[in-house]
């Protein structure tokens, strides 16, 4: 057994570190540290910096402009990105739709869509969930009816993250009602500018409209925007999902936040003449989190080791999703704890880009409760933690 990096891997780590130090704009780093959201323009700008370096899509095969890295190199890269707080490219194009296009798209579709995703010229969003199709995604109803060279789409999607920024949406749509629900679903790419599409923002508990409802009213979509075969969409979407369950533990980001908690605790008065870093129950909780993070990190490394000898990621990776998200949520509670009274003010505008007013509370303490509220999503989306536990009990334990 051996968890050490080789000399080449250590050199690679150094290279990544230097690149991020020099090329991840200091201005964005400050914003991330202060809990301020990066704007669409800033995210795209950063992704284009990665693109110029050739590192925009570590998971893509080299033939499409990926890096050709080993699993360990990808891990090193993700770790360094997380430690410095550099956002991973928005996943919807790079991580979600692109692999489907590569695996099942036509050559024409590959040429048309992949370069723009790689260069961050086009922003994608994910149109899977519907009001009545959440965990039971296969029960989705948004219908696409073939009419000559086009599909006519009617229905509604919901929870579209960053739909307001998107140029294109990839959708699961119903193309056959007469068969088992999984067998009548197709994978369709839709230009958001097509007539008949309307977006309605949904404001979440943190005061930010991060998601949207999307309505389709007789939306005419060229039939050549269909991926692969009609009624095979569910298979495509599922194959993708099992490949996406790596790098989901958030260990690097967790480490960074843990360090931030320690720094913050050292600067927070306990009210009795000391700081919160001297507070026994706070220290105990901090230690427990750090230990949990180590157990998670080594679980991830074990998954990674299996991957690098060619095994496909198994359902065990559900562990990473469950533990990673619940750990992140516990850290949110710790930030709330530390902020005390200072996280009570509800001032979301203070953490939007371009805020000019007089800030309330010390530092970004008023962001702590907002993040706590917002991150309840972590255990709900991407396959809720209940669904992940179902996967473990069925697929791993055979129950």
């Amino acid at each position: 057994m051996n968890a050490d990096f080789t000399a080449e891997e250590l050199q690679f780590e150094q290279e990544v570190r230097e690149f991020l130090q020099n090329d991840f704009p200091a201005e964005y780093r400050e914003k991330v540290d202060a809990g301020i959201r990066l704007s669409k323009e800033e995210l795209v700008h950063w992704q284009k910096i990665l693109y110029k370096k050739g590192w925009a899509a570590p998971n893509w095969p080299a033939e499409y402009g990926g890096t050709g890295w080993t699993a360990t190199q990808k891990h090193i890269f993700a770790t360094e990105m997380g430690l410095i707080g550099a956002p991973e490219p928005v996943p919807f194009g790079m991580k979600m739709v692109a692999p489907v296009i590569m695996a099942y798209g036509s050559d024409e579709q590959k040429q048309r869509f992949l370069p723009d995703i790689l260069e961050s010229n086009v922003w994608w969003c994910q149109g899977y969930s519907e009001p009545n199709a959440g965990s039971d995604l296969a029960s989705l109803k948004t219908a696409a009816v073939r009419d000559g060279d086009e599909y006519v789409v009617n229905g509604s999607k919901t929870w579209n993250t960053y739909g307001q920024y998107a140029d294109w949406i990839f959708c699961l749509v119903r193309t056959d009602n007469s068969v088992k629900k999984q067998e009548g679903i197709s994978f369709l790419l839709i230009d958001m500018k097509t007539p008949g599409i309307t977006l309605k923002p949904i404001v979440l508990l943190d005061g930010h409209a991060e998601v949207n409802e999307v309505f389709f009213d007789d939306v005419r979509v060229p039939a050549n925007n269909l991926i692969g075969e009609e009624n095979k969409g569910w298979t495509y979407a599922k194959v993708l999902l099992t490949h996406e369950r790596t790098n989901i533990s958030g260990v690097p980001r967790g480490k960074r936040r843990l360090a931030a908690l320690k720094r913050l605790a050292k600067n927070t008065d306990d009210g009795f003449g000391g700081t919160m870093l001297d507070n026994a129950s706070f220290r105990t909780k901090l230690a427990e989190l750090e230990i949990e993070l180590q157990a998670l990190e080594y679980s991830e490394l074990r998954t990674l080791a299996a991957l690098s000898v060619g095994n496909a990621p198994g359902p065990e990776s559900s562990i990473l999703k469950i533990v990673g998200t619940e750990l992140a949520q516990e850290m949110d509670e710790m930030f709330v704890d530390l902020a005390g009274y200072h996280c009570l003010p509800f001032v979301p505008e203070q953490f939007e880009d371009g805020f000019q007013g007089e800030a309330i509370g010390p530092g970004n303490s008023a962001a702590a409760a907002l993040t706590y509220f917002n991150n309840r999503k972590l255990s709900i989306f991407g396959g809720s933690n209940e669904i992940q536990r179902n996967i473990i009990s069925k697929a791993v334990l055979g129950l």
């Binding site: 404001v203 005061g207 200072h342």
Partner: protein, 377 residues
Amino acid sequence: MDFSNTEEQQMLQESVQKFVYKSYDFDTRNKIIATEKGFSDENWELFAELGWLTVPFQEEDGGFGGSAVDLVVMMEEFGKAMLVEPFVATTVLAGGLISEQGSAQQKAELLPKIMEGKLQLACAYAEPGSRFNLANIKTSAVADGDNIVLNGSKTAVLNGSNAEVLLVVARESGAATDTTGVSVFMVDATSAGVSIQAFANVDGKKSAEITLKDVSVSATARLGEAGSALSALTAVVDRATLAVSAEAVGAMEAMLHKTVEYSKTRKQFGTAIGTFQALQHRMADMFIECQLARSIAIMAAMKLDGGEDATEKSKSVSAAKSRIGKAINKVGQEAIQIHGGIAMTEELDVGHLFKLVTAAEIMFGNTDYHTERFASL
């Protein structure tokens, strides 16, 4: 032994329920929060008419009797409906402080106005570095002839932006965390040198950060004797702590109810999600938490109303706040999780209940603080 409500308590409870049913649905509440003032004057007048504003006060002061059990009964109902009117700030905290610490003359002048709904107050005790330690007061009060000059910053002042009179806790002598040397001064909110930064808290209630720069008040603005206010402040904050704990108990009961109802109607995989045993057990645990939370709130209220000494009373309040804080995390987070995405939106009330209990967990000292206080008393 009898844990049933008295007839009076029952009437009080029904009176709040009736008001909420008629005039305080979720949309109405949202509209009230959206106003600049952040609460409804009309409601406040009605509360006075209904006699609710007298509940925290002793009979000899013209009040309803000041029983902690009455307060708990009322606050639970307030919590279920998420009332944002400044009941705790004006009557329990500020009114309580005047009643505990004020002279006969000060009480006679101010308490009737509070009970008639004609005066809004706020109590400015917490400071940026004080965390939850009530004795940690750096705001200074220095004599200047017949006047006192106040300097310092106050944080988390509930109702601070709507109060006509601020009760400012300040230090006249001693070091920052000494238990003596602390006084309370009545300060007109419009006085020169007072600056108020207003905002709404995550639970929709109005609050403020306040700075005092060379604010001069007459020595007669001091409540009671110089340097003697800390034990009164402690008793009053204990009572307010119990009030928000009871409010959280009500809000948790509402969350449990809404979650169970939702799980019976929301269908996934062809069946109501409430039929999944994975969720059933967790709702059963939420129910257990709600019951324990309610029990300990009642325990603390009975001890406050009973003959125990001051330390024992404080200890029971800390026990309640600590245990209810634990329930808040569990019940609040499960309510969101079991609802799924829909609970993440501003449009559904359950998320607002979650925000209310999150704020309640912090108000007047969070769970860890009260666990430690319980151990130290």
